[in-house]
């Protein structure tokens, strides 16, 4: 759709006002938030991620464009709830130790919130100990671990290991995601869900819940 293309272009250029205006217009034209999320927002995020990882674009561009993504999300989030989403559960999310990237996590959190989850954000550079304490305190249904650097994959492993050692592992479902996370890695560390990007991560969770609760996913 043309307007989605326009939103995508504006996001790439970091034109925050334009993105917000176009997003609002798209909603008015009857395009679902889910469509905007998938076809404009995720498309931009993935492209940015890919291009930056090979240094085709400088980090400044990523920083500028990310704002536009967040602006779009800002418009979409309240609309997710409009369907009167039933409470789906509690999520504790964080970027693992040694990593300071949070754009993917932000998108996932926003989307999860939009579909009815309560999300507690632990922030960035979160050590395993802090995750463990949060699991004890908040007793979430899902623990979401995010990372963008291959060097910090080990922190995911350590966090899960700590949960196992302290007998907490069975109490949560662990969702991991981020650029360097692969299916085989997810299997190796024993994660319950895995997303190579934010959107597919959320899809996984919802699919499983749908299977569990027989709920309509398309209430998004």
């Amino acid at each position: 759709m043309e307007i989605l293309e326009q939103i995508y272009c504006a996001m790439i250029l970091g034109q925050v006002q334009t993105v917000m205006t176009l997003t609002e217009r798209a909603i008015q034209e009857g395009i679902s938030p889910k469509e905007i999320l998938e076809n404009a927002l995720m498309r931009t995020a993935l492209e940015l991620g890919e291009k930056y990882s090979v240094r085709e674009i400088p980090i400044t561009k990523v920083l500028i464009s990310s704002r536009a993504i967040l602006a779009c999300l800002h418009v979409l989030i309240p609309l997710f709830n409009e369907g009167g989403q039933p409470y789906k559960g509690r999520v504790v999310a964080g970027t693992v130790a040694g990593d300071v990237h949070d754009l993917g996590k932000t998108i996932v959190m926003a989307t999860l919130r939009g579909t009815g989850f309560e999300v507690i954000d632990l922030g960035i550079d979160v050590p395993p100990e802090k995750f463990k304490v949060a699991v004890e305190e908040y007793k979430p249904d899902i623990l979401a671990l995010s990372c963008l650097l291959t060097t910090t994959l080990v922190s995911i492993r350590e966090t899960i290991a700590l949960l196992e050692r302290t007998g907490l592992r069975r109490q949560v479902k662990v969702l991991i995601g981020g650029g360097p996370v692969t299916a085989s890695f997810a299997q190796a560390v024993g994660a319950d869900y895995y997303g190579s990007d934010a959107y597919s991560a959320v899809q996984q969770v919802l699919t499983e819940l749908k299977q569990k609760d027989n709920e309509e996913m398309d209430t998004l």
């Binding site: 925050v16 400044t60 561009k61 500028i64 704002r67 300071v100």
Partner: protein
Amino acid sequence: MEAGMEIEEILDHSVMRHILDSLTKATGLRSVIVNTLGEELLEPLGVQEECTFCRTIKRTAGGYDKCRGSYMRAGREAAKFGEPYIFRCHAGLIAWAAPLVISGKYIGAIISGQVLMWEPEEFFWIEVSEMNQEVGEIETLVQKGKELQVISAEKVEATAYLLFMMANHLMKMGMVVLEQRREMAEQQARLGAEIFKRKMLEQTLKEVKKDAAPSKADLNIEKELLLRMKIGDRSGMLELLHKIVADMLDRYGSRLQMFRVKIWELLALLSRTAVEDEIEENKVLALNAKYMEEVSRSESLEDLCYWICQAAEEYSTKIYRKTRGKNTEIITEVLNYIWQNFQRPLSLEEIAAHVYLSPYHLSHIFKKEVGFTVMESVTKARMEEAKRLLRHSDDNVAKIAKNLGYNDPGHFSKVFKRSEGVMPKEFKRRLPPAGE
């Protein structure tokens, strides 16, 4: 952290402040140096205040801590990837960090920025309030936010890159300083040991009167130093150098200027020896210039000692290089043996036996490594000694010849003439009047 690896010890504070000041003035952006915990250590010299936005945040209890956290992580990331790290701080501003890494160890960072890369629009105020919920003072922040500088992404990248290159350069300079300091400390330790030995000696010889004027022994040691340098005995030469310098410290240590003069004298001697030994004159001149300057600039005894030892090492390395080879140990042993025994008749057979080689084999490798034959070497040593005796003793030619192991004074004179160009008598006659 290792001693000597703190930023404060590597970088001169006033120099750093000046650099930060210039950076700030040139770019219009405030630059500071932080340690590994993100705490500000050094800021620009001039009255370059932080932007009001940041000041508002840092004034609050949680705000300063968050800033520190942002800087700490940014510095670490920059060091991790060895590149300038451009980031968005906890409050929403753009900043960048250049890592300070020395000997592979991360010791801090230069942080600059506190700007925006976009004109603040409505969404930015939403971001500000969301990102600063814990800090509070949103209304004030929005107000101060309007005063924030807006610069292009290209300018950010260029400034960050320059900052990074500068940080690298500073660390390289710092590396040199560190290494010099370490060498100086080692050298002082060696000299200290030498002086200690002498003090011990003095204690036991308390009743022996000390000759205040430079004695024959001192001149001997100087000659021996130069001879060792000439024949390529580098370690032996350095050993003697330490003795000489320790002695100079003893005599002139309390008068810096006098000490400096003695160092200059020594430097001149070393360089003349280097020239005599056919190191190209240009190279020697260059070395001289360098060391002369360092000696003039030195303001302390430690520095002067350091430089004369550096000079001796460098001059002798150039000579040493010529003589270095697989058989160096043997050669050195031969040379030592010659030096200890030249006063009596010496044969190639005897010398070869001393190093367990056949005379043929020894003469072969010796000539190959050193450039002249074993017996030529013996003659050289004798001629050096002959010259010294001619200079400093009243002995006649016949006596000197005998002392050197020549039974026939005529033969000695012939050898001398061949080596030095004049007859010994003539050499003595031509010497400058007493008092070198």
